[in-house]
Symmetry: C2
């Protein structure tokens, strides 16, 4: 193996030397002895930017671990497994009566040929590769794919939101029947809300999808999530920006969440995405989409869509904590920030000691908006003195907008105008349910698979 190939597999310096010393390579099935115990697994490739002090091993459990090179005392090769990582590629069957769907790739777990983050045999990305891995897709739509970029979702930001919004606009103009966006799950809800503001009243579904467990694990949600997302994009009457992910602990259905009312609520569960302060838009199974409500933007035949790709990057989101010092806000003002979203305690409160910093920020023309860190419920700043004090100082309550959504919306609003009255008008006018008139009782922590409506739906679908 040449140095160039090694570099491509991500090992260099000390780690490369260690692989060579023990005569093993990427994809070797090995037993590694270390000063912290023995490990059995497959040596995975790494990305070219990785450090050289670790070796990454895929364990039988499907989990990866990083092993510090300096702790390694021996490596024994038991076999090679590269063959398992080949993707069967077939021609994606196209027929004129099927709807057309475009999959836009951003670099999330689904949209990679070989995911360097997990070492997983991901169902890949080209239509042929996807068909080879998930043949059901051919029954749903005619598929086109386009890779926009390849970043981990924690590195997604305003520039990617703008590129994505424009790409969605171009696809709509080109006549597609639905759009699926493959995205890492970490910040999928941030991107979803950015797209909800940047892509207004689209004529077709715009469906974000990812997976919590890579497709080489028995419990993977990758294929099903993709099937549900494609089904939604191809057939659903709901023409909004949505997140389509695993519904509950059962894999009998997926849920469609509004892009502005969804948040990742578990670091590892597949049922991590939850509609907050409302019920989800719909359930989706292989049989189709079943809305839970009727107040949504409907699919249309026209190609009209408002693409508003703006973002002011000097904004911040502060979750208040007890004893927060004024320097936290002073520094933001000194560093030229134009907007701050605070996630206050209770109904929208912070401590008295940062009042002066808030006054200074407002005087300096910084837009300050209040949300609640309880996540569920509304800001109500008229109830207590603290809230009234803060409003008197110019802090603006944002009803029941989620903190993360308010952050995205403030960047989007300030990206359009410097006029703070206009910004306030944009912030407080609901565009796509980021503010709702009421939160139903079953929108609080209780939306479970056991919900009667879903149960009924499943009975019908499964019979």
């Amino acid at each position: 193996m040449s140095d160039a190939q090694d570099a491509q597999n991500g090992y260099h310096g000390v780690s490369l030397a260690t692989l060579r010393r023990f005569g093993v390579d990427v994809w070797s099935d090995v037993e590694i002895e270390t000063s912290r115990g023995a490990f059995r697994g497959i040596i995975l490739p790494r990305s070219e930017f990785d450090d050289s002090t670790h070796l990454v091993l895929k364990l039988k459990t499907g989990y990866n671990i990083g092993i510090e090179i300096r702790t390694i005392t021996a490596i024994v090769e038991l076999g090679k497994t590269e063959a398992h990582y080949k993707i069967p590629e077939k021609d994606f069957p196209v027929s004129p009566e099927k709807p057309s769907v475009t999959l836009l790739g951003t670099g999330g777990t689904i949209a990679s040929r070989l995911d360097y983050r997990t070492g997983a045999v991901i169902p890949a990305f080209s239509p042929g590769e996807l068909y080879g891995a998930v043949p059901e897709l051919a029954d749903i739509c005619n598929l086109t794919t386009e890779k926009l970029f390849a970043v981990f979702s924690e590195n997604m930001g305003p520039q990617e939101y703008i590129t994505l919004a424009k790409a969605v606009g171009a696809e709509i103009e080109a006549g597609v029947d639905g759009i699926v966006i493959g995205h890492g799950t970490d910040t999928m809800h941030h991107t979803a809300s950015a797209l909800a503001f940047m892509v207004q009243t689209p004529p077709v579904p715009v469906v974000m999808v990812g997976s919590q467990r890579s497709s080489d694990r028995p419990s993977s949600d990758a294929a099903l999530n993709l099937i549900y997302a494609m089904t939604t994009a191809a057939t659903s009457d709901i023409a909004e920006v949505m997140v389509c992910m695993f519904g509950s602990t059962s894999d009998e259905y997926g849920l469609l969440h509004r892009g502005t009312r969804v948040r990742k609520m578990h670091s590892s569960y597949r049922s991590t995405f939850r509609t907050i302060g409302d019920i989800p838009l719909a359930a989706v199974t292989r049989a189709g989409v079943r809305p839970f409500r009727s107040d949504y933007n409907r699919r249309r035949d026209d190609r009209e869509v408002g693409i508003h790709p703006f973002f002011e990057e000097r904004i911040s989101l502060l979750y208040y904590y007890p004893n927060m010092h004024p320097d936290i806000i002073d520094s933001l003002v000194d560093n030229g920030y134009k907007g701050i979203v605070i996630a206050g305690t209770g109904l929208g409160h912070v401590n008295k000691s940062i009042y002066p910093a808030i006054e200074r920020a407002v005087s300096a023309g910084v837009a300050i908006y209040m949300t609640v860190q309880t996540l569920w419920g509304y800001v109500h700043m008229f109830v207590y003195d603290t809230g009234r004090d803060l409003m008197a100082k110019g802090v603006i309550p944002t009803e029941n907008m989620l903190p993360e959504v308010a952050y995205i919306k403030l960047g989007w609003a300030l990206g359009q105008t410097d006029d703070l009255d206009r910004v306030q008008e944009i912030m407080l006018t609901a565009i796509c349910s980021e503010i709702t008139e009421r939160e139903p009782h079953d929108g609080y922590l209780v939306f479970q698979g056991g919900m009667p409506e879903i149960e009924e739906f499943l009975k019908k679908v499964n019979r």
Copy 2:
């Protein structure tokens, strides 16, 4: 009415002049005409620190609103209601066979004679006043009360935590059978975790309680929460720092939450406190406490307790958001912060662009700990490159410690020592379930009143 009395009722300047102009006063039942519509309610007193540009009206619904003085065109007095706000005070019946409980007041909604925040006729604070308002208390315990301070909970901080911890220690030494702490709900969970670290293995229950709705509203949880908290303090075998609050949408029981695993999750619901990533410790009804588990610190007859009242105030908690800029962390370092807790995305991630700032912070001796902003689930930084990169830079994962709890624990750890190895040892050693070995499936968003165990318990109690 004299100026001095007016000042005491909080009206001054323009607002006082307006009350006089229309011949009305605090406690007047009025109809107010404004440029934004008419309002009917009772004029409430305000605190002496309030602005003079608003008048506060208690509506029939129990909600208060602030009315801008400049919008008022007329005020008509319909009656006076001060009489309703008198608290019937009686001698609290004491008998030697009842357990002794001390109520420590911090200024929350329960522990005020007249709550200026809500204008509510709060069941007051002295044992006699409390007995007059909630006669059931006399069946539970012999009550002593002590007012430590009177601050809104959003203004609670390290100094109050320390005072409170010492007061708890003194009460235990004095021989009390249980302690109840009245506290505003905004930051009750922060204070609970501070006390859990500062008051270790107490021999008696230490129960924090508050109310989400003031006691003059039909739906108030104030009296029941107090009864449940007193019952717990007087009789429970669970000798830990707990939060006792409304259990579900039914008021048939309260729940006891561990101080380190509880978070306020709704800005206005009574069922706002939720055990995160675990099931609660117990349910409590008028009939007594029913533990859901057996792994708790038990009540003892000795008076031994570890009081560890330390706190380093230069710490911060950052909830990561997409496109976070390095200046956020640079400013903390420049301003002398000694510790930062990050609530990362997914399994504990941030974007690459703040890596250099993290490196600088670690080099400067700042302790950086990672939690997850999903709230549920564990940090797992070995799974992806981002996590491994961050660990290589010195960021330390904290398992499933809640972000707010990690913030409090880091302040407490750094308050004891500057030795960062020792701090790490403290941070990663579970003291009172702030880190647990696993999160049960029914600890994820699903703990409802419908849980079979509770249902069964209620059937038994109610028959």
